[in-house]
């Protein structure tokens, strides 16, 4: 069996290795992705975003358990930040998913941002392609959870769950300023804590004020209270996700098609950006032009970035 056949047959080792090549941006991985792409479109993709410490990993762990009980297979992509100083990373989300380590129906992969912003990695979408093709029924994506710009997940997932906890002070302000408009479902985790009612009330107000997603008209974003560590609220969250899935797939306004198209568009544009850049740089090098030298010229004001790019495009794309 070749690599693609192995992955389609659900081979864990082959899948894991291709994911690595994708993460490392190896050109050879494109070939496998091409062959895998036709086999995608079956998995349901759920994204989780929210600040560090709100319990995203624990929620993902609990949901994975519930999906397994339903007989569904689960893929998990958990993203942690790369250190901007050393380029290294410690990826520790798995630690809260230990009970799945020996379950062959769950595949967990930890990813480092490697300098990418937006909450996901450059490779996330392609990795989803692979997990989808290998036959995972549900794919759970956990974002880094550090910034207010974590909006990529909304384009990547079918359902986006925004997680917060009571008593985080300015948390609601931060959500309001940034990521409020990406949540299809809101979760107030650690709901046994003081301030839970207040947080829920504030979220409700924001939703009523219209601070909500524009692309799922007709969907009333629910607010689910959970205590993920104890498993409380998990069935309600499952139920909300399922309702949202049905809302997307079973209405006749074409919203599911729109979501699928949005994913495809993002993947297309991302790939175009990456490949075009890669190709242009390759050709530049081939002509003996050196990036460092161009940088020197720009720095010395001998030229400017706009002229360089214009010349490059005229030269290469004429």
């Amino acid at each position: 069996m070749n690599l693609v056949e192995q992955i389609l047959a659900g081979d864990v080792r082959a899948t894991a290795r291709l994911l690595r090549d994708i993460d490392d941006q190896l050109p050879s991985a494109r070939e496998a992705l091409k062959q895998l792409y036709p086999h995608t479109g079956k998995a349901y993709i759920i994204g989780f975003t929210g600040s560090p410490g709100v319990g995203k990993s624990t929620l993902v762990d609990q949901l994975a358990l519930e999906y397994r009980k339903q007989g569904l297979t689960v893929g998990i992509l958990a993203i942690d930040p790369t250190s901007p100083f050393t380029g290294g990373a410690i990826l520790g989300d798995r630690i809260r998913m230990q009970r799945h380590f020996t379950d062959s129906g769950v595949f967990i992969r930890s990813l480092a941002t490697r300098g990418h912003f937006g909450g996901l990695t450059k490779s996330t979408n392609d990795m989803i392609t692979v997990l989808d093709a290998m036959g995972k029924d549900v794919i759970l994506v956990e974002t880094v959870g550090v910034g207010q710009d974590e909006v990529d997940v909304a384009n990547c997932a079918h359902t986006t769950v925004l997680v917060t906890i009571p008593g985080m002070g300015d948390e609601i302000q931060a959500i309001k300023a940034g990521i409020m408009e990406i949540g299809n479902i809101f979760v107030v985790n650690k709901a046994d804590r003081e301030g839970s009612r207040k947080t829920i009330r504030e979220l409700k107000n924001l939703i009523e004020l219209g601070l909500r997603r524009r692309d799922d008209e007709g969907w009333e974003p629910p607010i689910i209270e959970t205590e993920a560590l104890k498993g409380r609220g998990i069935p309600e969250l499952m139920d909300a996700i399922e309702k949202h899935r049905r809302f997307l797939t079973e209405n006749d306004r074409g919203q599911w098609d729109a979501v699928v198209a949005k994913r495809a568009k993002m993947q297309l544009l991302d790939t175009l950006r990456e490949e075009a850049l890669r190709e242009l740089l390759r050709r530049m090098e081939a002509r003996g032009e050196n990036l460092d030298e161009l940088v020197r010229k720009v720095t010395a004001k001998e030229t400017d970035p706009y002229t360089v790019v214009q010349d490059l495009l005229q030269c290469e794309l004429r």
């Binding site: 410490g53 520790g92 630690i95 809260r96 230990q98 560590l229």
Partner: protein
Amino acid sequence: MGKGMFSESQLERMEREYQDWLGEYQKALQRLPERLERFSTVSDMEVKSLYTPLDIKEKDYFEDLGFPGQYPFTRGVQPTMYRARLWTMRMFAGLGTAEDTNKRFHYLIEHGETGLSTAFDFPTLMGYDTDAPVARGECGKCGVAIDTIDDMRRLFAGINLEEVTTSMTINPPASVIWAMYIANAENEGYDRKKLGGTIQNDCLKEFIAQKTLMLPPEPSLRLVVDTVEFGTYEVPRWNTISISGYHIREAGATAVQELAFTIYDGITYVEECIKRGLKVDDFAGRLSFFWNSHIDFFEEIAKMRAARRMWARIMKERFKAQKPRSMLCRFHTQTAGCSLTAQEPYNNIIRTTTEALAAVLGGTQSLHTNSLDEVYMIPSEEAVRIALRTQQILADETGVANVIDPLAGSYFVEALTDKMEEEAMAYIRKLDELGGMVAAIEKDYPQMEIADAAYQFQQQVERGEKIIIGVNKFPSERPELEFVLRIDDELENFQIERTRQFKEKRDKVKLQKAMDELRRRCEGPPCWENNVMPALIDAVRAGATEQECCDLYREVFGTYTDPGTF
């Protein structure tokens, strides 16, 4: 003359002459500069070249030091200290089967040990019997394997349990192991009211440092309070919690962090017991502490003195304790395992001696001295005898136990004691702000503080800023030792088989009834009527194994994994 031990004119003169001296010192340094760019303790607390009355001018003898046995107990918890009774020489011991450890206990008593201390193996510490799949390869390796009350009987065979006090290092399953101890003692004809000893039972420091994790924090605390409550009414001579800094320090904390996090754990236990309805003066006297004695001599002495003063003040001011006994920070000390080196292991005798001396001068109530081979494994008889002899030499030959708190009044020691208290109190305020220790643990706050300190220390060692002889100065290879203890891998099968046979002989009906009652109590709201201890004693007497009780806990209360953030 205001507060303080020196008159204003004395201090004025001191200030002038100190400045003069400092000038001389600087001049002398031009000829021969200081050896180091910066002088600091092993915990990286900077120290000056000289301490004078100026460094303790704000201190008041009566408010800040007092007499031994008097508030705030800086100088010692008893009026007589070692003049009347030496510290208890209590060597932490546990290996292989209950019989192996019993043999070691007798060996230590024969050689002059005055109290027992039990080390359990990892399965026992984590609430598993030897036959659990996760326990593979662990039986008897780091301590003794105790599955059943029968093992407990073998462990203490031939030892008078009303005469010797027994410490047991056990945390999440502490209630179960204590129930086995009490049930066994009663089976042997002893009176529970006369039993003396300690269970470590400090679940908070497990979340913070040692990671012997079983249940989430909340039910862990509930079980701790159950044991305190039971001890208060039923086993009055027992220390029901040994609030432990030792493991926090071994995980890499600084002396201040050890002090602060441990004292705050103590605060948390007191609060929880009060919430249960216990009166502070009814139980606080049975709380004890456990400190690490690390390699930096004065820092450790200052830490122990500061601990006594802080705990006394907290108990009096924060908890309004009335009885002096409630305010005592009585403590056990162990020399620092993490200070030992695998290279040139005989040097470990010197390290342990210095650390033991610091503990004695710090006023410890009992002491474990590490063996020179403890960096490799559980100590051999030969090595453990040297370690015990170290204490005996300090006690009987050196004269250091003849005078109470002999370092009091040292400008340096007093100033360092103050600094310890001051910096630890800053942590305590921070923990208050975070909403208490459980909230802080959930935020990974103490864990991160310790991990940062551990990493920083390691980097200082690698840069040569902190010296370890045989490691980064005069580096040396690890030698073969002539005496080495081996734990037979085959013990595991022996113990599994023994427990299996024990289980077969149990009265199933009686056992089920006892377990049902234990479950009922666990599921009920925490209160005296639902205290787990009486039910546990019945259950283990009916043959419940440690794991069976702990599995029930896990079922009712859930489990916990370390958040593991960085």
